[in-house]
Subunit: 318 residues, 2 copies
Amino acid sequence: MNEADIGKYAFGVDIGGTTVKLGLFDRDAHVLDKWEIPTVKDNEGAAILPDIAESIRSKMKEKSILLDEVVGVGVGAPGAVDDEGVMVNGAVNLGWGVFNLSNTLNGYLHLPVESANDANVAAYGEMWQGGGKGYKNLVAVTLGTGVGGGIIVNGKILNGAVGGAGEIGHIHIEDNEPEQCGCKNRGCLEQYASATGIVRLAKRRLEKDASPSILREGGELTAKAVFDAVKAGDVVAVEIAQRFGEYLGKGLAAVADVVNPEVFVIGGGVSKAGEILLSYIEPAFQKYVFPACRGAKFTLATLGNDAGIYGAAGLILR
Amino acid sequence: MNEADIGKYAFGVDIGGTTVKLGLFDRDAHVLDKWEIPTVKDNEGAAILPDIAESIRSKMKEKSILLDEVVGVGVGAPGAVDDEGVMVNGAVNLGWGVFNLSNTLNGYLHLPVESANDANVAAYGEMWQGGGKGYKNLVAVTLGTGVGGGIIVNGKILNGAVGGAGEIGHIHIEDNEPEQCGCKNRGCLEQYASATGIVRLAKRRLEKDASPSILREGGELTAKAVFDAVKAGDVVAVEIAQRFGEYLGKGLAAVADVVNPEVFVIGGGVSKAGEILLSYIEPAFQKYVFPACRGAKFTLATLGNDAGIYGAAGLILR
């Protein structure tokens, strides 16, 4: 092994409730290999970190990688993580209580470990190698089952006091909401701008009157169906998309007034609708945002499900 | 001069539209002297920085302070300032265009200069020596003619992409507002939670019906009058304070969802009402904020008009 080989590689780890995604990266941000292992949640998730350590050691053996050649391991976890790597509220989805994730994994692997919240790590990945490449002040917005957010300020993840920063899906956006959000509040952004939120908006619109729409033709009512109908010129679907855009644009305007990002990177399942999605968000954003913060760009995420392993590796390599 | 005297002092400068406030601080954050000079706005404010430099040089002469004994000069200015000290949009109130404030003042004084937006600098002062002492993640809220904000993350000012971070007074909070805000939008937090906003809320409430109130007894209708009436048990004034608290609590909940601060430090003229003010803000905040961000404390600012010079000096000494 010569000098140039020292610190050649890093691992990115994205811990989910069902599987752990892992990636082996070189210094130039190329993913050399990626794989998954199951997340074993028995016994309060006691096996998760040993399993990850074992999987990384196996991969190093398989590829003949020495300990000296690995710069470190980055980890994204589904819960609040503070700047020191502590899971400040544990992780309900994994059965974890409060402990220092970075130090514990370091104890198993004898490699430097950096940890952060999974949504924040995905945001970091999009900044490092995805839709937000070239920016250092960005907000990543994940429109999936819920609405997640990750905020990057000056190239660093914003964790906040207890790792609760970037919870943009729970900004209060509607005073007249009869149903509860998953968080028990009412009128959260997530209730209108997530995949399930869009379906709720669609149902409410369809129930309002009998105007004709592709969406009444018996297919499953999903966020994808709504945006497919928008692309087909369906008038009712366009109204639904406008309501969605009005809510999300208003919520992101509040985010911009607070952190003034250069760019919003929109990802998650809903973002598969493509650029047309942005055309419903941006006009509402411009209507509500403070003039000095109007310059924020909107772009689509590009890393998909790999944003987590990229961002985790980026914590080490960037 | 012995070794211990090197880097003994710093100056804090708070540039306002009418006067420039200056302070001489020792290393232990004591203000040794403070004074003001007029802000001369003629010729696009060309004299402002030379006047500040001259005033600092005079003070050094008066106190027999040598250049070596001064660590540097911190400056707060009324406009967006980026991380490099550039007034990115100039400063309308001073007649300034776009230029690098830090470098320019350094050119006059041959001392290190750090600059930031005045609201952010005041927030920094409250963190360093004021109501937020001991915290490193805080949001300072100034309830004056408008509603200003300054955000501190991990002990550093959050400027954002173009110095527009912390514009919390312009978070959209009300969809049904007929009047325009100063920023030309409608329904900004500032329209309800500033001193003038509270007067608007009071007028609207008093016009709604004829219920008796101290506020109808002919004195000038001000934010102070409203909170004095609240303290006297005036039912109508209490309703106005509740509306104010509902708006501000809702707005600050959105801020907490985004940056998850440890503490909100409430200052500005309206905060002279005292602790009673917080009793109207906190319940609404708790109602709207995401559960993980609920731990944020509320406290009153303590530095008053000196927050600016303290924060500016803190940029150098902290």
